[in-house]
């Protein structure tokens, strides 16, 4: 019973703040609403006993990604006031199409919900199990994606730095420390 109540509270928080995040006219408020969404999602993970995912959600998303968002917003000139959406025929027709698509896929999902296999065992996923799964090289173990992630993250660091760092407009001063 208590679980159900918590679930509905979290679901309500997620739904309300998601809508507020997209409808708010001020970027920084959107970011704050998004933070609540992320934290509530973390709460859902906690309910399911996924402690690791909970930790990931809080440290990476609510922590790191939000900081990145806020810094990115601070880079802009204006807080984004007076942003008006024009309702021309393109917007209207794509809105109608999206709603139709949503109805269709929603109908398919609802009509076939029995086909989805129920995996949620509800039992706690041990951190030790996770460690072994993440580092193993057998089937159902994930060492390769783990290592590939490091290359992806490295590429993201380098790409972001390349885009964001100050230009010196000089071939020779390639490395900062050479000067």
């Amino acid at each position: 019973m208590a679980e159900q109540i918590i679930f509905y509270i979290l679901a309500l928080v997620i739904a309300v703040f998601s809508i507020m995040a997209v409808t708010s006219k001020k970027v920084i408020r959107s970011a704050t609403y998004l933070l609540f969404v992320l934290l509530a999602t973390a709460g859902l993970f906690l309910m399911l006993n996924y402690y690791y995912l909970f930790a990931v959600q809080v440290t990476v998303y609510a922590g790191g990604v939000m900081i990145l968002f806020i810094m990115a917003i601070f880079l802009t000139h204006k807080p984004g006031d007076e942003f008006k959406t024009k309702m021309n025929w393109k917007v209207k027709s794509s809105a109608i199409l999206s709603v139709l698509g949503l109805l269709l896929s929603g109908y398919i999902v609802v009509a076939n919900v029995t086909r989805i296999i129920n995996y949620v065992s509800g039992k706690e996923m041990k951190m030790q199990e996770l460690g072994v799964t993440m580092m193993g090289t057998e089937k159902y173990q994930f060492l390769l994606p783990f290592e590939a992630m490091s290359v992806l993250l490295l590429a993201c660091i380098i790409g972001a730095i390349m885009i964001a760092r100050k230009e010196k407009n000089n071939v020779e001063s390639n490395n900062d420390l050479d000067k």
Partner: protein, 474 residues
């Protein structure tokens, strides 16, 4: 399989990663003097990697099926390597200049990361690996699209690409999550028997495949292509239109054949519509472009349609013809981009109307451009003709008569606009044509390789036989 041999089994990936780390360290350690040799060293290292990983080896899996290798993948990776090498050679000139010189280390590194991502996509045996590969192939690509950060067009192109790529991979993940929900596994080898064409799986499949269609820029997921191709630095455009597209279309085919074999009726229907749309829309919009990069963007959309035509048959022959088509397309398109890039570097002109009278000042460049256009259009004796011919043959074999008829009619339309470029260069005269251009040796070599490829590939049947030999094992 013990721990180390799991890694060593991924020969191409490990070799490419070694090259990347070496170049990054070189970039970090070398001083002003050392950086003068960066580009030659990068080219040599990458060429060495290309040669070292050229020979196929025994098929197998490592990491418990996470990485799934087939000899035909070496062929495809080899083609991608050659294409990337040509792009690097054409880009050397740009990164010798003041304007872009301080970003050469990043350009090579990020390009190679995207290539590594494509390798992972090609050889993945699990949807997670596929997804990581896809992200690796698109996020760094967006940063090199936006590399010319003081050009508004480039920044806009980068932003458009990253937003749409993020959106399409979100759609794709949604599809994958439903696939997992109905099947309960994400290993490619476990899935085919569990997929039984129920509505939920078809919906998941449609969402999933939309993400890949986006990467291949098939209509209706093509809207980013023209703007991004126009805004990106020309060499990056070349990379996007050849390497990124080639790898994505191959991955699409692998998945359709291996994982979604039970949905063949559905995906043939989807592909049918998408091919007709891509070829037609690409052609119609290409007709009215003046900017040559936009022109090639729409031409590449229609070429993507032809590539998908190789998939639709669902046979090993179709697969062979498609790999062959990618191979030919690499040379034809890169020849065109090589010419465009050298003209743009020296004069900054990117419009077809600027190319008027090019023959009188730059006969060699115009000749290469002409060959590229002939090959893209599919005029006989050039490689493009043979590749189109085989693709049509593969589709006809399975009875797609109407589709091939539409494709043939479109080929004729496409000849018209490809020849418009040739006409501008050779027949039209201009008061101030582009002055005679001296390109550097690297670009010359790259153009020579492309020309040789365009003329010779079609005449040597042995290439087709080799690809066929490996693709039948799939």
């Amino acid at each position: 399989m013990d721990y180390i041999s799991n890694f060593l089994f991924m020969r191409s990936e490990v070799s490419l990663l070694a090259v990347m780390v070496f170049l990054l360290l070189f970039d970090l350690i070398a001083g002003k003097k050392g950086m003068k040799y960066f580009q030659p060293i990068a080219l040599i290292a990458f060429a060495a990697h290309t040669i070292w990983t050229f020979v196929p080896y025994e098929a197998g899996v490592s990491f418990g099926g996470m990485y799934d290798y087939k000899p035909v993948m070496t062929i495809v990776k080899g083609i991608l390597n050659i294409a990337t090498l040509i792009v690097f050679m054409q880009a050397k000139e740009v990164f010798d200049t003041e304007r872009q010189g301080n970003k050469r280390g990043e350009f090579y590194f990020l390009t190679m990361v995207t290539l590594l991502g494509m390798y992972f996509m090609i050889s993945s045996g699990h949807f997670l690996m596929l997804f990581i590969g896809l992200e690796m192939a698109s996020i760094p690509l967006a940063t090199i699209v936006a590399m010319e950060k003081f050009s508004k067009k480039s920044a806009e192109a980068g932003a458009k690409y990253i937003l749409l790529a993020a959106f399409s991979s979100g759609v794709m993940l949604f599809g994958i999550s439903y696939l997992y929900g109905t099947v309960g596994t994400l290993y490619f080898t476990d899935m085919p028997n569990l997929i039984s064409a129920n509505p939920l799986q078809i919906m998941a499949f449609v969402f999933f495949v939309a993400g890949l269609f986006f990467k291949v820029s098939l209509v209706p997921f093509h809207l980013w292509a023209a703007d991004v191709y126009e805004g990106a630095p020309t060499n990056v455009t070349a990379y996007l239109s050849v390497v990124s597209k080639g790898s994505a279309v191959f991955v699409l085919m692998l998945l359709l054949y291996k994982v979604f074999g039970n949905l063949i009726v559905q995906w043939q229907g989807i592909l049918f519509a998408v091919i007709v749309l891509s070829i037609t829309v690409g052609n119609l919009f290409a007709l009215r472009q003046d900017n040559i990069k936009r022109f090639l963007a729409f031409s590449s959309i229609s070429q993507a349609g032809y590539l998908a035509l190789g998939i639709i048959s669902g046979t090993a022959f179709g697969m062979t013809t498609m790999i062959y088509y990618i191979f030919v397309y690499v040379f034809s398109n890169l020849a065109a981009f090589g010419v465009i890039s050298s003209i743009e570097n020296k004069t900054g002109k990117v419009n077809i109307s600027d190319y008027k009278g090019l023959y009188s000042t730059n006969p060699k460049l115009s000749f290469i451009m002409m060959l590229a256009m002939f090959s893209l259009g599919g005029i006989p004796i050039f490689a493009g003709f043979f590749s189109k011919f085989f693709i049509f043959a593969a589709a006809l074999e399975k009875g797609f008569y109407v589709l091939v008829l539409i494709a043939v009619i479109n080929t004729i339309i496409s000849l018209y606009y490809y020849l418009l470029v040739v006409k501008a260069m050779f027949i039209d005269s201009s008061d101030n044509p582009i002055p005679t251009i001296q390109t550097d040796n690297y670009n010359r070599v790259s153009l020579f390789i492309c020309t040789a490829g365009i003329i010779l590939i079609g005449l040597f049947g042995v290439i087709m036989d080799k690809i066929e030999l490996y693709s039948f094992g799939m």
